[in-house]
């Protein structure tokens, strides 16, 4: 019954042979040898040099994988010994001096891992271990394997070989959709390759070539049974304090994100250059969706996950965020040889070495000194533009989570607010009908916190839509709240145009009000409304500690009084809901309570303004006149100090975010697997290199 499958495989092999090259008669031999393995008998019995010869031959991955997939349960048991033996010899071959053998062994292992898993999607991890390695030997074999990989990765050997090692590891890590179900990883936990990964990342030249794979691998390994057991990678990552290593990690993330930003910008420019762009700007919204589709460059969650884990787990990494990546560092290191794999390593966003290693870079006057945080903010601004599909939404969510972690860190807050660290951050803004695209040059050089606030304001303004991203809004408003808490505590007066934030927040309330029924069906909008009102309370009662000028406090009142309709309506709404019996009673009454001061302001100043207008016979007061009224009537207004305005719940991954991260890691796994499989199959270049060596 497996005959037909075997026939198909034969055919495939034959076809391949014919199409690829007729000069390779050995291919047939390797297929024959595979067939020998898939029998009951020990192939070495008839040919004592069987294994030696096998690894001298070019691997036929497709055939091998196919063969493994075709096996059914009974056959497996029959061939288990041979498979174990193949695995064993693969591991042995890694120690060989003959590099061809090492390469072939690595590729064979890839095929083994994948083939066995594909066949046995439903099988338990233990069955798989037994089938591949054998229970009795598993521990020892896997230890040997990991040690060999470790020494290959850390040795002075060929770069291509290191690359292949990483591919094998990525392949091993991603064979299951849910990484935590991959029992084989238990051995990777016991025999840690953490140090090897760090070494790759910390060394400038190896970072250039393998950094990306290494960091993705690390991100995935950290997520193995994160919540169930002690994961040594989490422990180790959290205590790394060696700056070159952390910098290296940051650099890899930086390069990947920069590359993404660059690709996006290129596409954008491409778009704008054409006739289409003129049309779109004229006709407006109609075409925007279309434009965006064109603009979408695939986001890179794997690298973002790595950034998250680094920020979240390692306090020392925070310093790396502010660490500018001066181009000298890159220029100083000799440009590494171009990677052997011409295709991008993981298909998603390959770090372009040409850009980063250009020694001319530091002298470019238009080039802004950048750092990881700035790059990340730009990346976020692109990702957040479009949250329509689930994938993008998750990407934006991850960005906001990372930002939450950053603003909760005191050191990060210190450099965000550092007056001496000014940068121009060109955030990407969604093209919208009612506003012009701000000219890039006009952005002043400001402390980084302004860019974060800008990004938040931009998000608030641009996402009031039917598919309301409630969760993102909550995170966004919380980030602002945390920043303001820090400013209040440390009495830092940021010269920021707070007015933009106030009007954005008021508009958000307006949107919540006008879409009450639709939104309430899905979300607890009172929670968000409470957050927003609390922000206003922060400004109202603690404004003296962090507002930049006395007049900014006047402007706050002006803005509230000007938009009093919104607050009035909100009050009516929450009052109505809180008097009804229902699930929203309590959250709504909280908002009622929170509105006390805003209402006091409105009730205090509105009559004053009206009487001022009446006395002076003015129908429409100018802004200055209103401000004048405000200024002269403060003293008769009494406010109530609200509770816990500067308290907030700290970010905690568990339990709230676990589901999100599980799903995220799953999608990353699938994506990485897809890309690795494509790559490992096209190793012609690699083989050529080694055939010439040997």
């Amino acid at each position: 019954m497996s005959g037909c499958d075997a026939m198909a495989q034969e055919k495939k092999a034959g076809l391949l042979r014919r199409t690829s090259s007729s000069k390779k008669p050995l291919k047939e031999k390797v297929v024959l040898m595979y067939d020998e393995i898939f029998t009951k008998d020990d192939p070495a019995k008839s040919n004592p040099r069987f294994w030696d010869e096998l690894f001298l031959m070019k691997v036929n991955l497709e055939y091998l994988e196919g063969k493994l997939e075709c096996l059914d349960g009974d056959e497996v048991m029959v061939m288990k010994n041979n498979l174990n033996s193949l695995f064993h010899h693969c591991v042995l071959a890694l120690e060989e001096e003959h590099q061809i053998k090492v390469v072939n062994a690595l590729q064979t292992l890839c095929a083994l891992f994948r083939g066995v898993h594909q066949k046995n999607k439903s099988a338990t991890g233990f069955d798989i271990i037994n089938m591949l390695v054998g229970f009795d030997k598993a521990e020892l074999r896997m230890k040997d394997l990991m040690e060999s990989l470790d020494s290959l990765l850390c040795g002075d050997g060929s770069e291509s070989l290191k690359s292949l090692c990483l591919k094998l590891l990525l392949c091993l890590v991603t064979v299951t959709d849910n990484i935590s179900q991959n029992t084989l990883l238990e051995y990777v936990m016991i025999n840690s390759i953490f140090e090897a990964i760090l070494q790759i990342v910390s060394d400038a030249s190896s970072r250039g070539q393998h950094g990306y794979d290494a960091v993705v691998l690390l991100a995935l390994l950290v997520n193995y049974r994160k919540y169930e057991s002690v994961n040594p990678y989490i422990v180790k990552l959290s205590i790394v304090d060696d700056e070159p290593t952390l910098d290296g990690l940051g650099m890899v993330v930086h390069q990947a994100l920069t590359e993404y930003n660059r690709q996006y910008k290129d596409k954008e420019e491409e778009n704008h250059a054409g006739f289409f762009s003129t049309l779109s700007s004229m006709v407006g919204n109609m075409f925007i969706a279309d434009t965006e589709e064109k603009l979408s460059v695939q986001t890179n969650e794997a690298i973002l996950l790595a950034l998250y884990e680094a920020v979240h787990l390692n306090r020392n990494f925070i310093t790396v965020l502010a660490q500018s990546h001066p181009e000298i560092d890159l220029a100083a290191t000799p440009a590494p040889p171009t990677p052997t794999t011409p295709v991008s390593p993981l298909g998603t966003t390959p770090p372009s070495l040409d850009v980063m290693h250009n020694p001319e870079l530091p002298l470019d006057p238009n080039l802004q000194t950048s750092n990881l945080l700035i790059t990340f903010l730009k990346y976020s601004s692109i990702v957040m533009q479009d949250t329509k599909d689930e994938h993008r939404l998750n990407s934006a969510r991850l960005c906001l989570i990372i930002l939450t972690c950053i603003v909760e860190d005191q050191y990060a807050d210190a450099f965000l607010h550092d007056d001496n660290m000014n940068f121009r951050v060109n955030l990407h803004r969604m093209p919208m009908r009612h506003r012009k695209k701000a000219a890039d040059k006009s952005i002043p050089s400001r402390p980084l916190v302004c860019a974060v606030l800008d990004l938040m304001v931009e998000f608030i303004v641009t996402h009031m839509m039917k598919e309301f991203p409630m969760d993102l809004y909550m995170r966004c408003v919380q980030i602002i709240h945390k920043l303001i808490c820090y400013q209040k505590k440390c009495r830092i007066r940021v010269h920021y145009t707070w007015r933009e934030l106030w009007s954005a927040l008021i508009n958000l309330l307006k949107f919540l009000l006008s879409n009450e029924t639709t939104l309430l069906a899905k979300h607890n909008i009172f929670q968000l409304a409470l957050q927003v009102v609390s922000l206003f309370n922060m400004f109202i009662t603690y404004g003296d500690t962090f507002l930049p000028t006395p007049s900014s406090y006047d402007e706050l009142y002006y803005e509230i009084v000007r938009m009093h309709q919104v607050f009035d309506n909100l009050y009516c709404m929450v009052l109505r809901v809180s008097t009804n019996v229902g699930q929203w009673k309590e959250p709504a009454s909280k908002v009622t309570y929170a509105l006390v001061n805003v209402r006091a302001i409105i009730n205090h100043f509105n009559p004053k303004i009206e009487s001022y207008a009446a006395v002076n016979h003015i129908s429409q007061l100018s802004e200055d006149q209103v401000l004048e009224v405000v200024r002269s009537n403060y003293d008769t207004l009494t406010l109530k100090l609200q509770d816990g305005l500067d308290q907030f719940e700290r970010y905690s991954e568990q339990p709230k975010e676990t589901a999100f991260f599980k799903e995220l890691v799953r999608s990353i796994s699938v994506n990485v697997r897809k890309n690795v499989s494509l790559n490992t199959l096209s190793q012609d270049v690699l083989l050529k290199e080694f055939s010439s060596i040997s």
């Binding site: 700056e243 925070i318 001066p326 005191q410 660290m421 003293d635 406010l639």
Partner: protein
């Protein structure tokens, strides 16, 4: 002893021969002295002739001051001025009287060789000898004649010896004799005598010593070398200073001679680190006070011994040094695998190899540190805008931080320390058109001895004080006290998530929750009332909030606004103490008791040799004025010459340039004073005004004597106490910027300055003129001490300030030795008047405004 005395005797005799003849035949000197030998020592109080000879002597032509002379009569002394001047004259008379009596007692003493002359007495004698010897008498001076004379005047010979051995023989005299004497014996003797002086005293003349070593003949060099070698063995710092100075002062030689010159060779020896301390013995010696002064015979002997010593030393095991230095630029890293790469970043590959091999390279860490600072400067210069430069500077420094702490130090500091961190965000690029000098602040930990004390352990930037590491939970790198100081409660460790990231904001919040009083600005410090129902609501008046906001903003000290084109203004304006406090708070090392903050300006592409010369002259004048109790105020700032085109400057703290003051405040100088210090009658204003006058008088004299040019407002600082401080001595003595004919006045005195002093008729303005007169009289008295510094540095120098042949002569003329005090007073009046009226000053400021935007 006997041997040396024999050797020395001819030279000593020679000196004595020279000195009287010199004084009696002096005609070229500006001193108008009676030629009788007995009157030789008279000008020891140089002002003495003035009173006796009165005003009858016509004032000599003043080449510097041409304008304003005719208007002299217009300047009428007010009563106060007269009174003040009389006081000065009285004082001078008194001094003179003292001097004369001293003379009376001293003169027989000199003949007998037993007297102890006053310091000024000797100074004066020496000054005359030194000015003559070596130039006029050089050709006829042969060994034979000297020997002949020796037989005749043995008494005088012993006088010289007595002088050398007397308490009055100070380092300045030693340098002078070393420079002027042609006698190898005397030179060798002085070379030995150097050992008897305190290190600080000799260190002041290090540029002179080394310049003589480089550019003068063999004998001088041989006399100096043992001392230098000895000191190099003792101190890394001294070694490096020598190496840098040798390099810098050799650079004017022709390249072919330079390669084989003595200076270059010595520099190589120092840099090759062959001059290691001679084991424990040297170490102990270094800690002891300097060796006793009776080293007479050891000079040449030690010199000849030194090579053998060196070989001897090499074989010695130098265990203590090895241990203490092996930590060179390394530091503990969590991952040993990657450690090697970080070393390579800073030190060249060969150096790092050495480091790894365990061979300590004494000088390497410091040299690499300086090298990387200079490298930053070079790279900054390629960037077009200030903003980019600043950003780049910050990022480069943050990388530099990775290699700290290390066994490196700032040579401009006065105490031993290790550099532990550069607060990179505080660094600023200074205003310069094409170069990129920058100012950095450096956190250091003071220590006993930077060579032997252990290098501080690195504390991570984020100050992890409670990271829970699975391997070592009990001691995760923090001391209990640290934890106690930063946390009132330790975050809950049971939550698995909390284990990996420390509760930052919690850290921020906890104290405030538990102690209500820490919030001293806002009275509503109770941020969290735990439940809204249980407590009475708290009410606040909106007016109070608004009022607090405006009050707080008003109370913050006047700060400058950020200007991307002038980033240094804000940084320099911040009061130093404030800055120290701020940086200390943010620093992971700030809690250590021996934490200090230093600052330094790194100059790359600038020749600081002239600055160093100016520093020395200023320092000398400062001590002269101190000695003579003239309350002039100047601020010499330390200069470190690293090569002929790089170096470091110790910044003047709490000072901003007048240009920055005017640009930022948009006020006149006087109004700015009123704004900063209070109204006319306030104590603060009056103090500031006095400070201004005293410093202004001091710098006017400096500017006149040294002919400091390029005096635009960007080069004049104003400190928080009201002092002005001149910086940038790039154009002094014989050089001036582009010879446009600007700045012809004696010094810069704008109307604005006079306004601050209270106008031309004010008391303070008269006080100012009086101070100048006093200062000039005092400076004149010790002229030789000043001239000496400049004269020696002229040797072999191509510096623009020595351009032409008359630099020294002109300098001497500016001391006006021949004028009576009344004449000097007139001169000061003329100069002040001329400077005030000088159209060129205004022109130059206008020119600077147009070309460089300097207000």
């Amino acid at each position: 002893m006997g041997d040396t005395e024999l050797e020395l005797s001819p030279s000593q005799e020679e000196e004595l021969q020279k000195s009287p003849s010199a004084s009696s035949t002096s005609t070229t000197s500006s001193l108008s002295l009676p030629s009788s030998p007995s009157s030789g020592p008279r000008p020891l109080t140089s002002s003495s002739p003035s009173t006796s000879e009165g005003l009858s002597t016509s004032s000599p032509p003043l080449d510097v001051i041409s304008e304003g002379v005719g208007e002299l009569s217009l300047v009428i002394d007010t009563e106060v001025a007269k009174k003040a001047c009389q006081e000065v004259l009285q004082k001078v008379k008194f001094l003179k009287g003292e001097g004369q009596t001293a003379l009376v007692t001293a003169e027989p003493g000199l003949v007998n060789g037993t007297g102890h002359a006053g310091a000024s007495d000797v100074d004066c004698r020496r000054s005359r000898t030194s000015s003559k010897i070596g130039r006029e008498e050089a050709p006829p001076d042969t060994g034979k004649s000297a020997r002949r004379r020796q037989n005749n005047n043995s008494s005088k010979q012993s006088w010289l010896l007595r002088l050398f051995e007397s308490k009055l023989f100070d380092i300045s005299m030693a340098i002078s004799y070393l420079y002027n004497s042609k006698e190898p014996g005397v030179q060798a003797y002085i070379g030995n005598r150097l050992f008897s002086f305190r290190y600080e005293e000799v260190d002041f003349y290090l540029p002179q010593l080394l310049n003589m070593y480089i550019h003068m003949d063999e004998d001088v060099g041989d006399a100096i070398k043992p001392y230098v070698v000895h000191r190099c063995r003792q101190s890394i710092n001294f070694s490096l200073q020598c190496a840098w100075l040798l390099g810098a002062y050799s650079s004017d030689m022709h390249i072919s001679t330079q390669r084989h010159s003595r200076g270059t060779k010595l520099r190589k020896v120092i840099l090759s680190d062959e001059l290691k301390p001679a084991g424990q013995r040297a170490r102990r010696e270094a800690l002891q006070p300097p060796p006793p002064p009776c080293h007479h015979g050891q000079g040449p002997a030690e010199h000849s011994l030194s090579p053998s010593k060196r070989t001897h030393q090499r074989s010695k095991s130098d265990a203590t040094v090895t241990i203490s230095l092996s930590s060179n630029l390394k530091r503990t890293a969590s991952n040993p695998k990657v450690e090697s790469s970080q070393d390579e970043d800073l030190s060249s590959s060969s150096d790092s190899l050495k480091l790894e091999a365990g061979t300590p390279v004494r000088l390497t860490p410091q040299r690499e540190f300086i090298k990387s600072l200079m490298g930053i400067g070079k790279r900054l210069a390629t960037l077009p805008t200030k903003e980019q430069k600043t950003q780049r500077l910050i990022s480069e420094l943050s990388l530099l931080n990775h290699k700290l702490p290390a066994r490196v130090w700032l040579p401009t500091a006065a105490f031993d320390h290790h550099v532990v961190r550069v607060p990179h965000t505080q660094a600023v690029v200074l205003n310069s058109k094409d170069k990129a000098p920058y100012l950095i602040y450096v956190e250091v930990l003071e220590c006993e001895n930077f060579e032997t004390s252990s290098v501080p352990v690195r504390i991570p930037e984020t100050r992890i004080r409670s990271t829970r590491s699975v391997e070592n939970l009990p001691d995760c790198g923090i001391t209990p006290e640290q934890r106690a100081s930063s946390f009132s409660t330790v975050p809950n460790y049971d939550n698995d998530d909390e284990a990996w990231s420390v509760d930052d904001i919690g850290e921020l919040q906890l104290p405030e929750i538990h102690t209500n009083s820490c919030d001293n600005i806002s009275q509503f410090s109770v941020d969290s009332i735990t439940s809204q129902e249980s407590k009475e609501p708290i009410f606040i008046a909106a007016g109070d909030i608004r009022r607090r906001l405006s009050e707080q903003l008003a109370h913050t000290p006047t700060t400058f606004k950020k200007d991307p084109e002038d980033p240094s203004a804000v940084a320099l304006k911040e009061p130093w103490q404030e800055k120290v406090r701020r940086i200390r708070e943010a620093s992971p090392y700030g809690h250590l008791p021996n934490w200090r903050l230093l600052s330094v300006i790194v100059k790359c592409g600038d020749d600081l040799r002239q600055e160093l010369l100016a520093f020395q002259v200023l320092k000398q004048l400062q001590s002269i004025w101190e000695q003579e109790r003239v309350p002039l105020w100047i601020k010499p700032y330390k200069i470190l010459v690293i090569s002929s085109d790089s170096g470091m400057i110790e910044p003047v703290v709490n000072a901003v340039s007048i240009h920055q003051v005017k640009k930022q405040s948009q006020l006149s100088l006087l109004d700015y004073f009123l704004q900063e210090h209070g109204n006319y009658t306030t104590e603060a204003f009056l103090t500031a005004q006095r400070n201004f006058v005293q410093s202004c008088a001091g710098y006017c004299l400096i500017c006149y004597l040294l002919q400091v040019k390029d005096r635009h407002n960007g080069n004049i600082l104003l400190d928080s106490e009201g002092h002005i401080i001149h910086i940038d001595f790039g154009f002094i003595l014989s050089s001036s910027p582009r010879n446009l004919g600007f700045e012809t006045s004696a010094f810069k005195l704008t109307n604005e300055f006079v306004d601050v002093m209270g106008g031309q008729d004010g008391d303070m303005f008269n006080y100012y003129k009086m101070l100048m007169l006093q200062g000039l009289i005092a400076a004149r008295k010790h002229m030789e001490k000043v001239i000496q510094i400049v004269e020696i540095m002229q040797q072999g120098s191509q510096l623009p300030c020595f351009h032409g042949s008359s630099t020294i002569r002109n300098l001497k003329e500016r001391f006006h030795m021949s004028l009576t005090e009344e004449q000097l007073q007139v001169l000061v009046e003329q100069m002040v008047d001329g400077s005030m009226r000088s159209i060129t000053t205004k022109l130059y400021d206008g020119f600077q405004y147009l070309t460089n935007g300097i207000m």
